[in-house]
Symmetry: C2
Subunit: 229 residues, 2 copies
């Protein structure tokens, strides 16, 4: 009586847990796609589970509440992004004292690479992050998942600009983060303003202008401080 049951367990061990992992990912992907386009409050748990092809009750079973589902979405890709950024930063620090351009590149390039990768989830994620960055309600989440890494880059920038007061470096860095987040989300304001000559969705093209623009901003502030001090 017992032995057939054991054999069957070994042949297909704990299939319910495996299904659970798939379900979780399906819900995360669907929610990420919907939140990124419509915003957190415009999307219902029914919208999400219906897109994911699972039953309503599974969303709260796996994620408890809508808010904690949202946080799980942020956390999932933040881990990947933070690690890639820290690897890039470590690489240039190993080669000696890096320039501002190198530090900004090691912060932004990993984001761009993921954003244009085959995994379209990163496109949705970038839209989500752009919204996070604009609504103070989500600031605790931003701080929790992105500040530890951001502080490492902040330190590197301070080391590269020893003559600048720390708060001035903070300000420029926040300018850079804010512009990166908005522009790599694929902001389409430029489409009409340039009368069709450019598209905000072409983020690779945006990136080519973004880095020199930001470096120029840092340098201008540094020049001003040098002149006034």
């Amino acid at each position: 009586m017992a032995s057939p049951k054991i054999v069957s367990q070994e042949a297909a061990p704990d299939r319910s847990l495996v299904r659970g992992r798939d379900t979780k990912a399906l819900i995360l992907d669907a929610a990420e796609a919907l939140f990124s386009v419509h915003g957190y409050d415009a999307v219902s748990m029914r919208n999400i589970t219906s897109r994911a092809g699972v039953r309503l009750a599974l969303a709260t079973y796996h994620f408890s509440t809508k808010e904690s589902l949202f946080e799980s979405i942020i956390a999932r890709r933040a881990e990947v992004l933070n690690e890639r950024r820290l690897v890039a930063l470590g690489a240039i620090l190993d080669r000696g004292a890096p320039t501002v351009a190198q530090i900004l590149t090691s912060f932004i390039k990993p984001y761009l690479d993921l954003r244009v990768s085959r995994d379209v989830g990163w496109r949705n994620y970038s839209l989500l992050i752009a919204q996070l960055a604009q609504i103070n309600r989500w600031l605790p989440l931003v701080d929790k998942y992105f500040n530890p890494t951001a502080h490492r880059f902040h330190e590197a920038l301070c080391a590269a600009l020893p003559e600048l007061p720390k708060p001035v470096v903070s300000r420029c860095f926040v300018f850079a983060i804010q512009l990166m987040v908005s522009e790599l989300a694929g902001n389409e304001r430029i489409d009409t303003l340039s009368q069709g000559a450019l598209s905000g969705n072409d983020v690779k093209q945006v990136y080519l202008d973004l880095i020199p623009f930001l470096v120029g901003g840092f340098e201008a502030i540094a020049r001003r401080e040098a002149a006034s001090g």
Copy 2:
């Protein structure tokens, strides 16, 4: 029988219309304050009318739908802002060929001045605009109310940078708009990143760094183009 009625009409003509104007403004102010903090979808018509101290039915009576109420909010202050910007632009154009710094200043300074004015509605409005700028859903509204003025500044920038291809000017201008919108909303990301040394709410301080940063960005891109062409 008729004459007393006429006298009374002249003494207090059409009081219901007057009340209607007050009610409209009360609803606009309440909606602006709530939308700016919580976002469009998180705020209900009940929230709005309750904050305004008027009955629910009055909101749809005066504004038809929630979306058109939202558009009325955007339109109300856009007219004021656009006019101030065009006056500032006209002033520097009258004095001859303006620099990039002067053009950006005439675009951003009127926004800052209103943002820090006694009318706290402008603070709420700046938060609203920052959200508009980030969600493609509202792009038609942004284009409708802000593009005509933006195009005037775009032309001035092209004239000030004749050696730059127009799309490159568009790109830099969109960078400037985007950063202005985010930063003058009082983005508080800097509060934790600078470990309390700065506050994003101090937008006058932000402004002092914003203009040179942006001008430095324009100049860096211009240098790159000059070197490559």
